[in-house]
Symmetry: C2
Subunit: 215 residues, 2 copies
Amino acid sequence: MNSEQKIVEADGAEAESAALKKSRYHHGDLRAGLIEATRRLVEEKGPDGFSVSDACRLAGVSTAAPYKHFKDKNEMLVAMVMEGMIRHRDNMLAALEGIPEGSPDRITALGHEYVKFALTEHGVFRLKFGGFTDRLDDPRLQEAGEGTFGIVLREVAACRNETEITDDVRRRGFLLWSFVHGLSFLLYDKKLKEMGGDTQLVAMLTDIAHRMLRD
Amino acid sequence: MNSEQKIVEADGAEAESAALKKSRYHHGDLRAGLIEATRRLVEEKGPDGFSVSDACRLAGVSTAAPYKHFKDKNEMLVAMVMEGMIRHRDNMLAALEGIPEGSPDRITALGHEYVKFALTEHGVFRLKFGGFTDRLDDPRLQEAGEGTFGIVLREVAACRNETEITDDVRRRGFLLWSFVHGLSFLLYDKKLKEMGGDTQLVAMLTDIAHRMLRD
DNA sequence: CTCGCAATGTTAGCGTCTCTAACATATGTT
DNA sequence: AACATATGTTAGAGACGCTAACATTGCGAG
């Protein structure tokens, strides 16, 4: 039953002597531990199935402990999603490596990474975009999202041989974003059952990229 | 404070003598009343802010009453979303009226209606598509959604001069759906602040329809 | 008509959840 | 060493989901 308990603490990055930690009053880095617990639970049970109490049990602390680090449940989620958005952006930047500048393949790669993130970290993705907006409207999240969109805009501009972000570039970028965004939702909801592996997905993304980039 | 109370009952479709209803033990049509209360509250406070207790207060019954009509909270939401999906489909069918068969304008009209619904009934929309999927996986909802997609496929086929739903038609339909789906989310999240009125939206939808329909 | 049953309400209460208050313990600065 | 602050704990208030037990109503069969 409690085989999973305290796991969050145990496999923390800076694993000091586990025995030493055992009889500690203080957790070490409870904030990080709770964020990690939150992430796991949201992925496992979904955004609405998540409870602060569960996170406390997983982190091995009392249910009042989180409130020394976060204002409320919502702030815990914001902190967790924040980290996810950074991963999201880093993944997208990494996906561009080795693909020649100005190639539409870069757009495809970005879209592919976007969808992959939405599918693997669907809890984070849905928290950010799936309708908890009313409560999850932290300006830092807004900012992080716009930063990611900036990457797309830059690539679109390059493909269109523009030196700056014109209205046309912005329009095309937004259309591309709409597409991969919707695709992410629909794929996770299994609306396209017959969608095979990555090959078919990439073909789809490539097709879209070309349709959106041409005149 | 209770100016809104019992509103749900008061303005019901079949408004009998209000005075007569007042001293009634039975509600009349509590099931319908609760669905309507649920719809209002979800639109007002968002899917996660909704509580059965609130719905009871709005409908003017005790907090145990709903469980004579619905298995649990989730079934209340399913029933409410179900009605929304029917409205959604009817709206889309109505949007086609007067537009010549085989015209891409029909695709645009469908997309426009899709987005309009997502924006006006965003609570319903997000419940259906925004990540409550794990709990909201009623097969009837699945079916309703596929019915709506069928409308799109039929129109795409007509525009492509196909007599049946080929793989190509299905692919284009899915891409179109992805687009308007993602657009709906992003527009509500105000990701496109500069998006003006309907005119600009329609222009965007028209552009997309043409890009997706051509070879 | 009325008797009885099924349908549909109500009240009371359990367990859980979020969050706060009051108190306890650790940490680190002087 | 002593104190201030940070970070934990326990206890509990108030809301919610849901169930059990009981009350009222509507309706069909005798």
